[in-house]
Subunit: 450 residues, 2 copies
């Protein structure tokens, strides 16, 4: 709780200046804000929901401690009355959200918050910050798992994630979508994710001879050693690994695998596999790493390059080809009045909403419909669940492994063309007739009033 | 200190498995690791150093608390002897580094750490994580400041940075290179950065009429109001802002500015300027925002579009066109023996080093030379400073404003072609004859031994 409290200031200043202006205008009415993604980045055809757990924790703990009030006072922008109001402020609202690990699509509400307008507005920055990052990475990681076609994929990204928080959230978001583990030990501890690792080139070069480095490592980890074979020459490195594997066999031990981290990963794997097989080491696994992303994994899968698993780092950990989503948090209802924004290219959907998913007889995803909250479309699942009421989470957080299984199960029911790594097919998302009517009506009203 | 302690586990698992193997092989000799960037991303011709403060704090506090040891014990990978050793482990080494805010170039050592090999190895992940992010953002932000050609630029990125830590470090790194302020209130508090903000579209749409939203806001902030004019129609919005500005003038107040956040930012600014000027509001500033990066700013500068300042968000905050650097931390000397790595495309420079900068008679940057630590190239500045000795920082951290001034002063002395926003000219970096000789010698030795 201690460190969380201070996060009330992890916000854009304008949330606070708007809050003071709402306060001075005596605007305490209820408002609903809706979070959604306006467009797909290139080659994306779906999104994976992630980040809700942190948002709910943040909302439950939200408050301004005395130190934050002192700082705001020192800026001479805020009145004493408003700062007194902030001292007593907590989040008391209601949250509807798509659970973590569920698929969703462009324009669909991910989360809707209804609360007195100051509360609903002031939490915007943190909510976007966390949901954008975690959804971004979960989506990228899902693409990697899909492209690897059954081969294990592990997260090696910590050194190039954007800071500490990203390192933790990337480990969690990638595990959530089917990664087998992470190299991030702290994430292993905090989230209960399996931790994995091999050795670095520096370990090898700290020994005068590569073979001595291999020997030393397998003595320390006789049950689970993966030798990095490309510090100097990868084929010579493979032969040294075979030498060490034979020494292990003589002791009744078994070498787990070798890792290739540079060079032409496709042709090297084929050569290394051949050399290992000729030495009778058909059980020794080959792990590939070094700048891999889903495009590389798909190409390696297409030609059946004999990798058994992959370490995926930087390009997954920063979502290299699309490092942000066009995510927005928009006021959609104020004091019972549906509202929208008409800025060029940035139109939002008015009113409180529900999201419906239709499946076919085999359970395969057919289409979604965005509707108004009080609508009930028959034979469709309600995807927005009420997860917080009066500022308290309704249920304990779901277990991460359960979220992961739920994701994998639903992902399996999404058609391949929508999951394509390049140029995916559009998944059908409709607006309900009532939502469509409301949107047109409000657009006309706005055109007349403004 | 409390939260920092746990960061010992914010590491790749292989740092710990290698540490156990070093420990069991009784390898406690001194080693030097060197941090550098192997290549420029597209359109980059220089880098800006940032992140050292966090690295020094991390090294000073480095230790495994009882909870971390318990977790490692539970993984059944580590021996009791090794875990006992970790319990007593602190960082006792020496650090040489380029100070924050200095320019540097491809292949140059940013930081060299000399310590018993386990200590120098085990801190790798955190060091790359922080220096990569902060250098990445400082470099991107410097490009934005340069492209804005004297117009103020402020950081609006918090909602789309990769998590909390990135939000804080982006605010600091962008201020360091000349940004005027940040919207991130917590960063304002922690780092003493000026905080800035206007209003959101949701504020405007929470009022039935745009004019009422403007009126309410200027009543709350009569000395400093910037009105967002594009919630509906930006030109109609400008006329409403003028109406409110005239009401303010009648009260002896003055409207500070208007903000445009969508549409064709170039043509809108020209029209808005004309409308404001015709109304006699020549002092009302125009702020541009909405998906801007240095390429957009350069284009707006080229045609003298009448913006007075810019809010720069997402694309700076994630370094959108280049979200990572090819940064490596390599063993360069072990037990007095210079070492290197020969993996395809990933060759490193052996030995402990010093970096020299040569300037011309006017103080303009002429060339750099990478040399061995004990070399002394006459008439050149030593860029690697000894910043930590026996695990303790040698000096208090420099003040952020001083780092900022130092950066702006040196940046001004770098030639324009190297600073070009597209296709920059290569800055000359040489290897000293002695370093070149050593590299060739070690390459031959490696070829013979391995």
């Amino acid at each position: 709780m201690g460190t969380r409290n201070n996060l009330a200031l992890l916000t854009d200043l304008y949330e606070l200046t708007m809050a003071q202006s709402y306060f001075q205008s005596r605007k305490f009415e209820s408002a609903t804000f809706s979070l959604f993604i306006r467009s797909y980045p290139p080659n994306r055809g779906y999104f994976v929901s992630a980040g809700l757990e942190d948002v709910l924790d943040f909302l439950e703990d939200f408050c301004f401690d005395p130190g934050t009030i002192d700082y705001l006072h020192s800026k001479r922008m805020f009145t004493d009355e408003f700062l007194d109001f902030l001292k007593g402020l907590h989040f008391t609202g209601e949250v509807w959200a798509i659970p973590e690990g569920r698929l969703f699509f462009k324009d669909e509400p991910i989360l809707e918050i209804t609360a007195p307008i100051i509360e609903a507005q002031i939490v915007e920055t943190f909510i976007i910050n966390q949901i954008n990052l975690q959804t971004l990475i979960a989506t990228k990681a899902a693409r990697c798992v899909h492209a690897a076609r059954g081969r294990a994929v592990v997260d090696f990204s910590l050194r190039r994630t954007h800071g500490i928080d990203a390192g933790m959230k990337v480990a969690r978001s990638s595990y959530l979508t089917g990664f087998s583990g992470t190299s991030n030990v702290l994430a292993g501890r905090r989230y209960g994710i399996p931790i994995v690792g091999t050795m670095a080139h520096s370990f090898v070069s700290s020994f005068e001879r590569e073979t001595d480095a291999f020997r030393s490592f397998v003595l320390s980890f006789p049950d689970n050693s993966t030798l990095l074979i490309d510090t100097y020459d990868p084929l010579a490195g493979t032969r040294k690994a075979i030498e060490v594997a034979r020494e292990m066999a003589a002791r009744g031990e078994r070498l787990s695998g070798v890792r290739i981290d540079s060079g032409d990963l496709a042709s090297l794997a084929c050569e290394v596999r051949r050399i290992l097989d000729e030495a009778g080491l058909v059980d020794v696994k080959i792990i590939g790493s070094g700048g891999l992303d889903e495009y590389d994994l798909a190409a390696l899968s297409d030609t059946n390059v004999p990798y058994d698993s992959y370490g995926v780092g930087t390009k997954m950990g920063v979502s290299g080809d699309a490092p942000w989503f066009d995510m927005a948090y928009k006021l959609v209802e104020h004091n019972g009045r549906p509202v929208l924004k008409l800025s060029t290219g940035k139109v939002s959907l008015p009113g409180r909403k529900q999201l419906f998913r239709f499946v076919d007889g085999q359970g395969r995803l057919k289409k979604d419909a965005i509707a108004l909250l009080n609508e009930n479309l028959p034979e469709a699942e309600h995807l927005l669940k009420k997860v917080m009421e009066k500022g308290k989470a309704k249920d304990p957080h779901p277990n991460l492994k359960e979220i992961r299984e739920c994701f994998l199960e639903e992902f399996n029911r999404l058609d391949e063309p929508t999951k394509a790594i390049r140029n995916p097919a559009a998944y059908p998302v409709e607006l309900s007739p009532r939502l469509k009517q409301l949107k047109e009506k409000i657009e006309q009203q706005v055109a007349q009033t403004q």
